[in-house]
């Protein structure tokens, strides 16, 4: 009986949490962050085809869904480093800006995880 009461209480607390903080889920936050800050270059689905993917720029945005290429990249530099310090800091394009002064550590960690999810690597 006590166990049932505990389960019901836990369920109520969780339900309350979802109702009061509907945006608290990490994956949902990461998707929103990606769409807002990254999709302009990398595209909403991460295929490197955002609105800024124009031929006049010296490099094309990275396709985050290219598992083989992304595996090679992450072996050299963790994605979080690129997000924080920008492309130039890891010897890649200066066009990828550093986000450490714009985003919080939690936001950058969420984006790091999201990019890992996109590349399945």
């Amino acid at each position: 009986m006590k166990r049932l009461a505990m389960v019901v209480t836990l369920a109520i607390i969780l339900l309350w949490g979802f109702l009061v903080f509907p945006g608290i889920s990490i994956s949902a936050d990461a998707k929103g962050l990606y769409k807002w800050y990254c999709a302009s270059c990398h595209g909403e689905e991460g295929k490197g085809d955002g609105i800024n993917s124009v031929k006049e720029l010296p490099v094309s945005p990275t396709n985050h869904t290219d598992t083989a290429e992304m595996k090679k990249r992450v072996a050299k530099n963790p994605f979080i480093d690129t997000i924080k310090r920008g492309g130039a800091a890891i010897g890649k394009s200066e066009i990828m800006p550093a986000w450490e002064k714009t985003l919080t550590n939690e936001e950058m960690k969420a984006l790091d995880k999201y990019v890992h999810d996109l590349c399945k690597c």
């Binding site: 945006g23 302009s40 609105i51 124009v54 720029l57 200066e94 066009i95 800006p97 002064k101 714009t102």
Partner: protein
């Protein structure tokens, strides 16, 4: 003879009303009557989240007088042309055509908007003189490489070709539209003008922000 005091009083009231109705007030009345506030807030931005920012349908105009040149406002309001390649805050959609108003109305609204200032914008911070030599080269490097502004903003090459990204406002004619002091203040503290904006917060020195702002407003 008894009518004179009534006529004089009416004239005084009319004159007082005419004098006390400033051009800015006329512009404000037009701004409100045209429903501009449905897309443009005139209250300082205070977004706590991206979701709140995304609800914005057009640029915040609470600091329009610090940001835009009055002459440009007059022309643009009467004959608006898109300065973005997508709908405001929705990159996947094409922009709507902005509503135009008559030249007379545009004059009044431009006066009203030009009176909306932000105390954070330091007047005279950026020289109106053209950058020369090393400063110009440094500013161009900042714009194209070190801070890569043109990854998101379109600019014009000396040959007149438009190049660069398309997520941010077109900067190819930025000097016609923007005030250098505002560009400098924005570069130093973008979050103040556009909390949760897409533009990254750059760690620019005062000197770099000033020459970069001067470079941006040299685009005409």
């Amino acid at each position: 003879m008894r009518r004179w005091p009534v006529i004089a009083l009416t004239a005084i009231v009319f004159l007082f009303t005419w004098v006390s109705t400033s051009p800015a007030q006329e512009g404000e009345a037009i701004f409100k009557a045209k429903g501009c506030e449905s897309c443009h807030s005139i209250s300082p931005p205070k977004f706590g989240s991206i979701e709140e920012k995304m609800k914005e349908k057009g640029p915040n105009l609470s600091y329009a007088g610090s940001k835009y040149k009055e002459e440009w406002l007059k022309k643009w309001l009467a004959k608006p042309e898109n300065i973005r390649y997508s709908k405001y805050n929705i990159l996947s959609l094409k922009p709507d055509k902005h509503v135009g108003i008559s030249e007379k109305e545009a004059d009044e609204v431009a006066k009203y908007l030009s009176a909306l200032k932000d105390a954070k914008v330091v007047s005279g911070a950026v020289s109106s003189e053209e950058l020369k030599g090393g400063e110009k080269v440094k500013a161009k490097t900042l714009f194209e490489k070190k801070k890569a502004c043109y990854a998101c903003h379109t600019v014009k090459t000396p040959a007149g070709k438009l190049i660069g990204g398309r997520s941010g406002p077109d900067l190819s004619m930025a000097g016609e539209r923007l005030k250098g002091d505002w560009v400098y203040s924005y570069l130093k503290a973008p979050d103040h003008f556009e909390p949760k904006g897409r533009s990254p917060v750059f760690a620019l020195s005062d000197g770099d922000a000033k020459i970069l702002a001067a470079y941006v407003v040299s685009f005409k």
